[in-house]
Amino acid sequence: MNLLLLLKLTFKSILNRKFTSYLTLFSICISVFLLLGVDTVRKEAKHSFTNTISGTDLLVGARSGSVQLLLYSVFRIGNATNNIGWDSYQKISAHRSVAWSIPISLGDSHKGFRVMGTTEAYFKHYRFADEQALGFKAGKAFSAVYDTVIGAEVAEKLGYQLGDELTLAHGVYDTDFARHDDKPFVLTGILARTGTPVDRTIHISLQGIEALHIDWKTGTRSRETVSAQNALKLELQPTQITAFMLGLNSKMDIFRVQRAINSYKKEPMLAVLPGLALGELWQLIDVAEKALLVIAVFVLLNSFVGLLTVILTSLNERRREIAILRSLGCRPIQIFILLASESLLFAIVGCFLGALLFLIATVLSHSILQEYGLHIPLSSFGSEQLVLIAAVIGVSFLVGSIPGYRAYKQSLADGMSIKL
């Protein structure tokens, strides 16, 4: 069987029809890219999100929805509806069933990165991925009021070094008319990369948050500003926080503590289990996810229809060529292979280019994805993606058999009388 010869002929034939070939190839390349993209983004989104928090038994915030709480407290997406009183936090975290607690306070930003007020407990107890703790790439946790620790992404993007000064802005968007420029912060620590929103966060102490807003009590900067030094002399005990995380002594207590917090009469709060909240999030996203995948599959099918059209139209022009080959001793089954392999060749090259495009895109869009909490490493292209590509190639062979079969039948029927 002159398989290699047939493939060579197919290849040369395709080269001869450069323009249509390029278009068809482009179409397949794009649709494979789309398919890979949609599939990977949804898997990696799940992966990224799930890896953000680990080992926390309960997340507590002002009463809103569990998905919303999860989103703003862990992923820094969206905002809290209300705050929690400091004494409620103290009472709950002091309970004997609580092993540790991390209070957090959100609301400010710096050059597009969110500022989070918290305590040393954060650096000690926060876990992500598979029970991994936060590590320091440089420096250490804050000790003074105006100290700050930043995530790896912040350091990389803004090029900060230990000892640099940062001016934080009031509100989620950083604009120069709402900056706390009278109270600059000093960088004392840079965290090691985590692949979670921690990388994009600027951490300061709760006292630091209080100091920042000491003259913002009316909601805007008051005429008589308090200097950074003077602020230190004042009472910097926080009165409110945005949310807190709890680690319990016994997992068996989770439900009781949760129930107790949810029914706490003094303040409306919501306690959620991160695992379940994530599950709810996936339920919400699931429909959109599946829809995207279906669309991607249809786009691919559409490309194949285009490919089929191109090959079938060329079939008419190639009847003469096929008759010549038959006269040279080419068997009908070889004619079938000649035509069917065309579709296969397009699919293989198209998949290769589509995968290449996908890999390039993941590298280039790295920073944009980071903003949405997504982290798509190059290693995300693995065996599952290869299975997907293999499926695409398999389908292409089925598609190719259609013109292949037609050519096969035609070659038998035509014999030597070719109607031009």
Partner: protein, 165 residues
């Protein structure tokens, strides 16, 4: 990847079936001592003997609801719902097994002797979280809380299968 899930479900139903004889099937009632009646007010006074409208109440003496000691070290099989505790993007390795869905939201939460902390022999690729499951494993029924173990029911080296209606 739907076919992958179906395949996985099939594998789950087939594989533990081989060993299901060594595990004794129990119900949630078996986990509660016969003499014990769960009291209604137990979780009302949670924070230092204070109820939610401010009145101080006597806290019951026993911290945790009682467990059935004879179940300790037994190989048991129990149906229930999963509440994932230790998980990553693709699998769950430890979870709480509870008798009903919504154990955390609507009704008062189940007492401790109606919760089993399960750690799986092999982390399970996450499927439908809300599907009822059979869990088979070695039960540990402990009364005291030590530094490394907490009181209540633990099931270790467990395997899971989907509950067939």
């Amino acid at each position: 990847m739907h076919t992958l899930r179906i395949l996985l479900l099939l594998m789950l139903t087939i594989s533990p079936m081989a060993n299901s004889d060594e595990y004794k099937e129990v119900t949630w009632d078996d986990l509660m001592p016969e003499s014990w009646v769960p009291s209604v007010t137990e979780d009302q006074a949670f924070f230092e003997g204070e109820t939610f409208d401010g009145t101080v109440v006597e806290l019951p003496k026993t911290e945790f609801s009682p467990i059935v000691n004879t179940l300790d070290k037994q190989k048991l099989k129990l149906p229930g719902y999963m509440i994932p505790i230790k998980f990553n993007a693709s699998s769950v390795s430890e979870f709480l097994l509870v008798p009903y869905v919504g154990a955390c939201v609507h009704t008062p939460p189940p007492p401790e002797n109606q919760i089993v902390y399960v750690s799986l022999k092999k982390p399970l690729v996450t499927q439908d979280l809300w599907a009822p499951v059979w869990v088979s494993g070695t039960m540990k029924a402990q009364l005291s809380m030590t530094k490394y173990a907490t009181a209540g029911y633990h099931m270790t080296e467990a395997v899971m299968e989907v509950y067939e209606y």
